[in-house]
Amino acid sequence: MSEVMVDVHGVHKSFGPLQVLRGVDLQVRAGEVTVILGPSGSGKSTLLRTINHLEKVDQGWISIDGELIGYRRSGGKLHELKEKDVLKQRTGIGFVFQTFNLFPHLTVLDNLVEAPVSALRRPRKEAEETARRLLDRVGLADKADAYPRRLSGGQQQRVAIARALALGPKVLLFDEPTSALDPELVGEVLDVIRDLAGTGTTMIVVTHEIGFAREVADTVVFMDGGGVVEQGPPAAVLDDPRHERTRAFLSKVL
């Protein structure tokens, strides 16, 4: 079995009095696709955002490829990292947002080139070559010079995926990548994610697309009330859930 790429350990997170995560443990192996399902408010998105330290955890720790995220350990203490070092760690973690968040004032190509040039100090020419190759891979080679708002939602999300890939991340995190799309555009985005899964990219996908989970996931995690209720291969969790809450959720969405 391959090594653990993402290790989430006893993570707690509250927003004021609201406890969103209550001790989440999760291991994702290198090259595997993990799909997180669960009702809204179950803490899926928050968990995903703690993995690249967009949200700080209150308790517990997260490591990627053996490196603690957001903290440095010395002795029995965790020292918070400076923003600069957190930003450096994030270049190894691709994040795809529900609402794409492309930079509307930059062309598609510049959206892809910006981070490699400014964060990784890659030469612009090299970054542009990589960007064009990635755009080709998501089927948008001809849109390099367009501005994002001229693209359809599905195309924008494919650009966003290419932008996350441009840094050559170790892990890709998807936060409900198809939830903001018109139904007929969902397929093209899922196709791209499916392709990526086939190339052995480590991915964590928060989604409501049960069919996609069944087809692509190596592991399905069901979350509810800020914790992991059960996890396992899709066949086990989706077709033969052991927990009542999982069963109730699946009966509603299937």
Partner: protein, 336 residues
């Protein structure tokens, strides 16, 4: 007479309505007559004509004096001073304002409070009061120096010789402007969708670069219209520094009419220059706004220049068509 069709509800006169409606092209459209609107237009045009006639014929305006002074060396030099004051105060004011805006947006309560206090104080003091303060700087701080805070001073200079009158005016205008600029920039920054800086952070883009490359260019769309107002306000606001006896436009005009007593035509000179400069700024603002609208509009409308070019091109094309013989060309190709 029984009919198979009934008139639709709201039909004007069901009794006379024909069973079969006439062909659409047979119905002529009569536009509504706006009598009140026409009357109002006529009244306004008469008033405008009266006013223009007064401008042209009333001898008090003394257009001859206006012509003699409007491009005179004294006045042109004064315009140059006005422009310099505006440019310095705009650039320095917006630089300081941007720093203050990000201080207010920072997570440090100390920076937030200092920036808030600065804005509170400098928005509270009338500009003219502040300018006179700076004019009397040497009374306030006789000498300015560099050293250890609250400790010994290593180097110092007479404050009057360091700053001078123009310097004092620029400082006064800048500090005043910065307080307003800070709020304008802050408004622009918070108008940018939070997802933008979040996406930039998720991509690991360095913090300063996030601000310069991602947030500020988008904030500019909200900043520019108000900033344009502020810069135009500042241009005219420089006339206040006449209290410091600086040779800017308004002061110089006063000097001239103080000498020759031709108050009205010289005020016209100043007015004309302020209108010209403001118009130039407005045009510049239009083009700068267009630049920052990139990616925002699906198809940006053509600029007036592009429209003018297209108009000329269309005229030429129309003329070319008119020049062509109406009679189809002789297939044999020989007319004579």
């Amino acid at each position: 007479m029984p009919t198979t069709r009934t008139a639709p509800p709201g039909a004007i006169s069901p009794g006379t309505a024909p069973d079969v409606p006439p062909a659409p092209e047979a119905l002529r459209v009569v536009p509504a007559r706006h009598y009140a609107r026409w009357t109002a237009a006529v009244v306004v045009l008469v008033l405008v004509a009266q006013f223009v006639h007064g401008l042209a014929t009333n001898p008090v305006w003394e257009w001859g004096v206006f012509r003699a002074y409007v491009l005179s060396e004294t006045i042109v030099q004064a315009v140059w001073v006005t422009l310099q004051l505006t440019a310095y105060a705009t650039v320095l004011g917006f630089l300081l304002g941007t720093v203050l805006a990000f201080m207010r947006l920072s997570r440090s309560p100390v920076l937030q409070t200092v920036a808030w206090t600065y804005i509170w104080i400098f928005r509270s003091i009338p500009m003219i009061v502040q300018l006179v303060f700076w004019f009397n700087l040497s009374a306030l701080y006789d000498r300015l120096g560099v050293g250890i805070p609250f400790g010994p001073v290593f180097w110092s200079v007479d404050s009057d010789s360091l700053i001078g009158t123009i310097g004092a005016a620029v400082i006064g205008l800048t500090l005043h402007q910065a307080a307003y600029a800070a709020e304008i920039v802050r408004g622009g920054v918070i108008s940018v969708d939070h997802g933008q800086s979040e996406a930039a952070a998720a991509l690991g883009i360095p913090r300063l670069r996030q601000i310069r490359r991602i947030v500020l260019p988008q904030a500019m769309r909200a900043i520019l219209p108000t900033a344009g107002n502020e810069i135009i306000g500042l241009l005219k606001g420089t006339s206040v520094v006449y209290v410091m006896a600086i040779g800017e436009l308004f002061y110089q005009v006063q000097v001239v009419y103080g000498r020759n007593g031709r108050v009205i035509p010289l005020l016209l000179v100043a007015t004309a220059w302020y209108v010209v400069l403001t118009s130039l700024l407005s045009v510049a603002q239009y083009y700068v706004e267009r630049r920052y609208a990139r990616g925002a509009d699906r198809t940006p409308p053509p600029t007036p220049l592009q429209r003018a070019r297209r108009f000329v091109r269309d005229l030429r094309a129309a003329a070319a068509r008119r020049d062509q013989p109406v009679v189809p060309l002789n297939p044999l190709g020989e007319s004579r």
